[in-house]
Each structure stands twice: as structure tokens, then as C-alpha cells.
Symmetry: C2
Subunit: 364 residues, 2 copies
């Protein structure tokens, strides 16, 4: 999996282009809640400092109890596995498959992990408008033992239509195939019912991945989890984990932010407003060819008459990091992804885009 340690692979590398050169960049390349770290965490950090002299509970019993209460879906402690970032949960669950079907374009770690463990991979490509191709998924699943799919999907932000997906769930449940749904961005979706976590109490085939990274604005805390009714599956993954994989600060985060309803509500509301505003404003630019439907906190664009590389460099020269998408399977350098941020930051980006548009019109 060493590929993930290259610059292009992920957003959020503010180091190579920014910090190490002494430049403060506005980061539109990683998709973090623009409300910032919840105060409910900051205010409880002192508890971590008290606890850090002890080993965490090997079984993380209290932490899992908090998650089960947060999910309100009849999920018990034994149905939960904690990961050092959703990255660890992605890694463990994909390793458990023999031949995964991966819906693409999507988060590159799915493919990177499958390849690192020498899995044969089958790809189901999204439709041209980046909606899921349910029929294609169904067909390709027949030769596979599991599906890997994002909901919402990264980099486009589309969500699964629950009705259309139903027969895939029934099929997988019957044929003992796994469905790994990465819901790292699900809390940004306006309609809470779009999550499949409620289906976990009925279908053993489902394995849902969640993260603290994005919605709770803590990529530095490294914290994710997986949920499944299939306790044997949870157990088989946890056997491959190192002991104490979650540190004390991450444990305190679990215990602090999941019940911070004020932060949760404000985040949902503000992202809904900014998403609408941002999309409307982006429509004005002639160098943007397509704006794809998103329910997450990021926006995929297809450019015209300018490459992703040129857009990236133009924005970087003005202190803004955007995400080129050419390393997503199925995308090329016309595509870029933008985080949806605060009004102030969004306007800064829009102003840079206006400047770019002027240059393009001027033929520079």
C-alpha cells in the first residue's frame, strides 16, 4: 500500500506544498467539516491527559457503548469494531474478501488495499452522470464474494437509492456475499435515512464503515469504525488488529462528540446552506463543463478548455489547494474536487475562479 504515501493519491497534503515551505494554504482538497473541531472534544482533552498513563481498555467497552447509543439502530457493542482511522477498517474488511467488486471511481484506498493483498478485483463503473449502475453491480457481483461501495460516494457525493439497492442486498444475503458500504461522509447528507446502518439489524451481509475524520473535523485523531450484525465477521477482522489500536485521545473523542447534538445539528444546517450557495455560484463559470449531483461536503467538477493541472497550479499560486482527480480510476485530468467550506473560504475560491475565467477569456 505504499502508493498512498505519494502526493497525488490523497487530498489534504498541505505539507509538501504548504507547511514545509512556510505557506499557509486554504485546503479545498480534503473534505473536513468547516465548523472545525467540536468544542465538546477540546473541553474534554484534559480527561485524556489524565488517562494517558494507563493502557486503554483492550476491549474498548465504554467507547463502543457510546457508538451503539449514537447509531440508535439496535447495534450492540459486539457488532462494532474500532479502527485507527476508517483506513484501518477499510483495510481489514477488504482483506477479508477473496474477490471484491469495487464501485468506481471511488476512494483510491479500496483498490490500493485489494492490490496490496493480491486480490483479483472486478470494477463496476458509475454511469456517465455518476449515478450507480445497479444492474451492472448485480451482474458483476455474481463472480465476486463482496461489494465495496461508497455512500455517499467519493469523489462525486452521490448516494445509493435504497429501493434500487434492495435486490442487491437480498441477493448478497442469500448467497453469503459481503456488502461493504463506506459511509464516511453520511452525516453530511441532509436526509438521515439515507444511511444503511438501520438495515444492519436485519441483514448479516452488510458491513458499514464510519469515520470521525470528516464530519467531526478530526482527521488527526485517526478514528473510524465498522458495524455489522455478523459477529463472526467482526471477530475475524479483530483477530488481525494489533492490541490497543485506538489511543486515549481518540477514545475521549468518541465519548465527547457523538452526543454533541448542537454541533451535529449546526453542521448539517450550515453545510446544506453552503452546498446550495456554492453550487449556484459554480454554475456561472464557462470553464466548468459539468457539476455533478452531490449530497456530501464536496463537489466534483469537469472542466473544459483547461486541465486539472493548470487549475491546481493557478489556485496554488493564490494560496488554495484543490484536488485533482486524475488518479481516480475512470477519471482524467479534466476532473477536480472541491471541499464545501465556510462562506468566507468559498468566496475566496470563487474569486480565484473569477480571476481564472478572466485569464481564460483574455486568452492568457
Amino acid at each position: 500500500m505504499n502508493d498512498h504515501k505519494s502526493f497525488l493519491e490523497h487530498g489534504g497534503d498541505i505539507y509538501t506544498e504548504g507547511k514545509f515551505k512556510g505557506i499557509e494554504l486554504i485546503d479545498f482538497s480534503s473534505n473536513i467539516n468547516f465548523l472545525g473541531v467540536p468544542k465538546s472534544f477540546t473541553n474534554n482533552v484534559h480527561k485524556a491527559l489524565e488517562d494517558i498513563i494507563c493502557y486503554p481498555d483492550l476491549k474498548y467497552r465504554e467507547a463502543k457503548l457510546h457508538i451503539s447509543e449514537y447509531l440508535k439502530a439496535g447495534i450492540r457493542e459486539e457488532n462494532i469494531i474500532l479502527g485507527n482511522g476508517a483506513a484501518e477498517i477499510i483495510n481489514l474488511s477488504i482483506r477479508a474478501l477473496k474477490k471484491p467488486c469495487i464501485v468506481v471511481p471511488s476512494f483510491s484506498e479500496y483498490e490500493t488495499t485489494a492490490k496490496a493483498y493480491s486480490k483479483e478485483i472486478v470494477f463496476s463503473y458509475l454511469n456517465e452522470d455518476f449515478s450507480y449502475n445497479y444492474n451492472d453491480i448485480m451482474e458483476r457481483l455474481k463472480g465476486c464474494d463482496g461489494l465495496v461501495i461508497g455512500n455517499p460516494n467519493n469523489p462525486n457525493g452521490g448516494i445509493i437509492n435504497k429501493e434500487s439497492f434492495e435486490k442487491i442486498i437480498y441477493y448478497c444475503e442469500e448467497h453469503k456475499k459481503k456488502i461493504i458500504i463506506d459511509e464516511a461522509f453520511i452525516e453530511f447528507v441532509e436526509d438521515e435515512n439515507q444511511s444503511f446502518v438501520d438495515k444492519c439489524s436485519s441483514f448479516k451481509c452488510l458491513f458499514i464503515i464510519r469515520a470521525f475524520t470528516k464530519f467531526f473535523a478530526m482527521p488527526g485523531i485517526r478514528l473510524g469504525y465498522g458495524v455489522s450484525l455478523d459477529i463472526d465477521f467482526i471477530e475475524s477482522l479483530s483477530k488481525l488488529q494489533i492490541p490497543w489500536n485506538i489511543n486515549t485521545f481518540a477514545e475521549i473523542a468518541i465519548k465527547s462528540v457523538l452526543k454533541d447534538q448542537e454541533y451535529i445539528n449546526a453542521s448539517k444546517d450550515k453545510h446544506n446552506i453552503e452546498r446550495q450557495y456554492f453550487i449556484e455560484e459554480l454554475k456561472r463559470f464557462n470553464f466548468i463543463d459539468e457539476i455533478y449531483e452531490t449530497h456530501a461536503n464536496f463537489q466534483l467538477l469537469r472542466s473544459i478548455n483547461i486541465t486539472g493541472e493548470d487549475m491546481f497550479n493557478f489556485c496554488l499560486s493564490r494560496g488554495v489547494l484543490i484536488r485533482r482527480c486524475r488518479n481516480f480510476r475512470g477519471l482524467d485530468d479534466r476532473f477536480i474536487r472541491l471541499a464545501i467550506k465556510s462562506r468566507e473560504d468559498n468566496q475566496k475560491l470563487l474569486n480565484i475562479f473569477k480571476e481564472l475565467e478572466m485569464q481564460l477569456i483574455g486568452g492568457k
Copy 2:
């Protein structure tokens, strides 16, 4: 590796017997620097809170630079791999061997890891006085591709004699076998030259594991590292790691405590004093049959006329958790391990032992 999630496997489980029952225990079962969390870390936690909204540097460049400066052994960034606890480094390096020779009794994770990855294991047992059997190691290595050895070794605290070990290093270097030396407790050893990290700049076969857990009293931070001249080996291990395996608080710990010379010196001095005091006092008890030579911050004992279970329960009933050693390969329930703690705590334990001795004499 699920075995490690059981109570008996490790020290430091203050949850099952303590916290979950609302009891505050004095923990002599895990070997943590009794000076507590360095203030140099606590005072810098606010920096982690500022950084946590960003992903850590994928390559952890600054953190590795701090480690290379701390080691003062010509170790460069590319010779260092960071782990989510020394546990991750143990896991990765043992997975890299086909057939490890493990020196035992020792930290149970070596064997647990090797078994989890279906390795054939060869054991070299310590001598009866728990010194290393260098001839036996040499013989057994001939059928193996690597050695796993603690320095100091857990649970006894003995250290490797550098002169006696030299021919093993030359042999492994010539025959391309790996030597994994777990130096998680090395900073407690009075003579700094007992570490093999200085040999890393000369021998590619060496791979040294270090931890922040023990000496810097932060088991909750989950932080360890591995060092080797063999960059290809480091690369091959890092390919199996998930991205961003170290969280922001752990990064700040690296940048804070390694240059805290005041804490380092005070820790060494105070442990030397307490070790001598504790050993002298322990010699008074008739139910202690053997006290083994230690250079670390823990003491292995062999009991007589009482089992480890009875000692454990007696101490627990008086609010103290000690470490039974029957799950160490080669040991039985006569053996217990005690952390060396502050004078106040050590005296509390000694008083409990006095009470126990009275009961044993009284025939209760």
C-alpha cells in the same frame, strides 16, 4: 491475534478488576515510568488541538527527524518506521519473517503474532537464571530466517551481553537473517551503551524496536518505532501499514518528550534508586524464592509455598494489581512480575507482602 484481548495475556488491565467496578487500583502489573506523563508533552497538547483538523503528514517527516536526533546514532529518517504502539512494529516485523526464532519466556505478542500469521516458530529458552543462552540461539538460528529477542527482556529484565552476542550478529549479517531486538524498556537501563541502536549504522541485519509507552509513561498515546539500516526492509514493512497510522497527539509527543532531558535524567536516576531499594526489601520475604537480575523497571519473582493466583487475589483484595506470569511460555504460576514504582507505592506493596507473610506464617 484475538488472544491478546483476554485478561490474562497482558498487564495493565485495570478495567476488568478496577474501573468498571468503581475501584481505583495501584497497578503493579504494567511497567510504566512512575514519574508520570512528561510535562513537556502536557504543555504542548494545545498544539495537537490546533493541528488535529488537518491530516498528519503522510510521511511523518518532522517526527522522524526528531527521532533521528534523539538516537544520536547516525540514523536517518528513511531508516525509521513509526508504529501505532510498539505493538504495530512487532506485528509488522514478525510478519516479515518466514520462520522466527523467539527467545522465551518473553512478551507474549511475539508468539501471538507469529501464530496469527501461521509462522513456524522455533524457541530458544533462557537459562535457568534467565540469562540468554547464546550458544542455543546460534544453533537454533541455523534453521530460521530471523531472531526475536528482548533487550531488556520482559518479564525478567535481563540485558544482552554485547560481546557474547557479537558472533550472532556477524552470523546473521553474513547469512541475511534478521535480528529483531525489542528495546521497549532500554531507557530504564542504567548504562546507555547497552542499546544496540549504535550498531544499526553498521549491520543491516539489525532491526530495533522502541516505544514511548514505558519510559515516557504514555501507554495511552500508542506510539512506537523501528530502526534499521536496511531501507528495503523498512519499505517492505511500511507497505503493509495503513496511511496516517500515527495521530496528531502522538506526533506532538514525539516532538515534545524526546528532547526533555530533565525528564529523561530524572527518570533514569529515580528508577536506579528505587530498583535497588525494592530489590533489597523484597529479599526479606520467605515466600519469595528467587529474585532475578533486572536492569529494567520491573522485577520477576519466583514464589514458594504460595501460588501466583493466591498472591494476585491477596493483593487485589488490598487494591493492588500484580502480574501473574503463568501465561509466559516456560513460566508457571509460581512466577509474578512487579513494576518498580514510586517509594510510596513500593512501600504500600511491601506492606501488603508483610501482611501476606504474617498470614503464611500463621498458617492461614
